[in-house]
């Protein structure tokens, strides 16, 4: 399959088209959007299923197999916010607060992009390691912590202490559902898992169907912010696409070195490339209140998310297959 074929197959996937429809609905000013609570419910289902299945699969993985990739993931979690910060601060000349805020988003990870990547590699006949959700959990918070630390010296008196905000990050719904799911999945084991598997299987019809609905609303949300693209300027537009490419390539390479399969390296690359938009925004809003939300939300949600979904994932897959030595 050529890269172009890969891109085409990816563009015509149900989740990409659902996203596009949501975006279009907003552009033509349709009144359609998912009720907030439904949307929240869907995200809870997705994260919880992801955690559960990851926990079940974790049982099958030996410590030796997972140690390398886990270390690589934490390394990426520390490195990517720093590179993002330096690029935005030095090249983009953004303020310290804005740079740290953007770095927090790019250092953390987007679970939906992760799901899209696992689906993509599976459609290509590859399989990512079953313990990938464990790595997703590992990558969730270090990036936010590092970036907030970068911005911390800048914080004015009377701001909320970083410790309090980290409590929020670590007890937020993403962490509780992912980490809690991992533990529960690990404890219940295969026998109990089979009774709930049809509902929670992340490659199954229910999960994929829910993901499609979720993507509709993601499209609507991104569509509502399309106008902000004009406000953020050319630098962030380029950053939102080039930074993921750099982080994604690095992640795929590190994943390969750490012993992941082509599928696993693709997914790790995607994780490194993705920008958080669930866990990071509230943490950043509270810790760095003078950072402009238009910059970090637009970059993460309107530029990087669709970019990874449509173009990034096939590219990281290409890099991983090339590294893995298979055509």
């Amino acid at each position: 399959m050529t890269t172009l074929d890969l891109l085409q197959a990816n563009l015509l996937s149900p989740i990409a088209l659902a996203f596009a429809l949501g975006l279009l609905a907003r552009v033509v000013r349709s009144e359609f959007s998912l009720p907030k609570d439904v949307y929240l419910g869907l995200s809870i289902f997705l994260l919880w299923a992801l955690g559960l299945q990851g926990g079940v699969e974790l049982r099958h993985a030996s410590l030796q197999v997972i140690a390398g990739p886990a270390l690589a993931t934490v390394g990426l979690g520390v490195l990517t916010p720093i590179t993002a910060y330096l690029v935005v601060r030095r090249l983009g000349r953004f303020s310290t607060a804005d740079s740290a805020a953007i770095a927090a988003h790019y250092g953390s990870v987007s679970a939906v992009t992760f799901i899209a990547a696992t689906g993509f590699v599976k459609a290509q006949g590859q399989e990512a390691e079953g313990f990938m959700p464990t790595l997703l959990t590992l990558l969730e918070s270090p990036g936010i912590a590092v970036a907030l630390a970068l911005g911390a010296y800048h914080a004015r008196e009377g701001e909320r202490p970083v410790r309090e905000v980290m409590h929020e990050v670590l007890t937020g719904r993403t962490m509780v559902l992912l980490l809690g799911g991992l533990v529960v999945g690990f404890l219940i084991g295969d026998q109990h898992w089979t009774t709930i598997e049809p509902f929670y299987d992340t490659t199954g019809a229910v999960f994929r169907g829910v993901l499609c609905l979720f993507m509709l609303e993601m499209g609507v949300t991104a569509g509502a912010r399309l106008g902000d693209l004009r406000k953020v300027g050319g630098f962030l537009l380029g950053f939102g696409m080039l930074m993921p490419l750099a982080h994604g390539t690095l992640g795929a390479w590190i994943g390969h070195v750490a012993g992941l399969s082509v599928g696993g390296a693709t997914v790790l690359g995607t994780m490194a490339a993705s920008a958080s938009y669930i866990a990071a925004p509230p943490a950043v809003r509270l810790t760095l209140p003078d950072a402009n939300p238009t910059y970090y939300l637009t970059a993460a949600l309107v530029i990087t998310f669709p970019f990874n979904l449509l173009i990034g994932i096939p590219v990281y897959f290409r890099v991983a297959t090339w590294l893995g030595g298979t055509p």
């Binding site: 902000d228 509270l286 939300l297």
Partner: protein
């Protein structure tokens, strides 16, 4: 029972401020509060909350001096960086002991 005048403080703020604000109210002497989710538009245009949730309307009935302390705190701590408005009105309550 004769109604006693008290001050109703209403705060409309970003969803993300729920925890800090309610902690502040308690600390400054409010005995209770009510929270509702509201929709609307303001001068700032883009907020975090239209992604994370609706705006909050927090209401608390307090003695006038507590209301003044709350407003002063909000102005010093939040007005610069967050989307927030706050206003007071005089209300009449029964059982004024509940509020002071």
């Amino acid at each position: 029972m004769t109604p006693v005048p008290m001050t109703l403080v209403t705060i409309i703020a970003e969803h993300v401020l729920r925890e800090p604000l309610t902690a502040d109210l308690r600390r400054l002497g409010a005995r209770g509060y009510s929270i509702g989710e509201v929709e609307g538009e303001g001068t700032r245009g883009l907020h975090t909350q239209d992604w994370q949730g609706k705006n909050l309307r927090i209401e608390t009935v307090v003695p006038a001096e507590v209301a003044a302390a709350i407003l002063a705190h909000l102005a010093a701590r939040y007005f610069d960086d967050y989307a927030m408005i706050a206003y007071t009105s005089t209300v009449a309550v029964l059982r004024s002991g509940k509020f002071a």
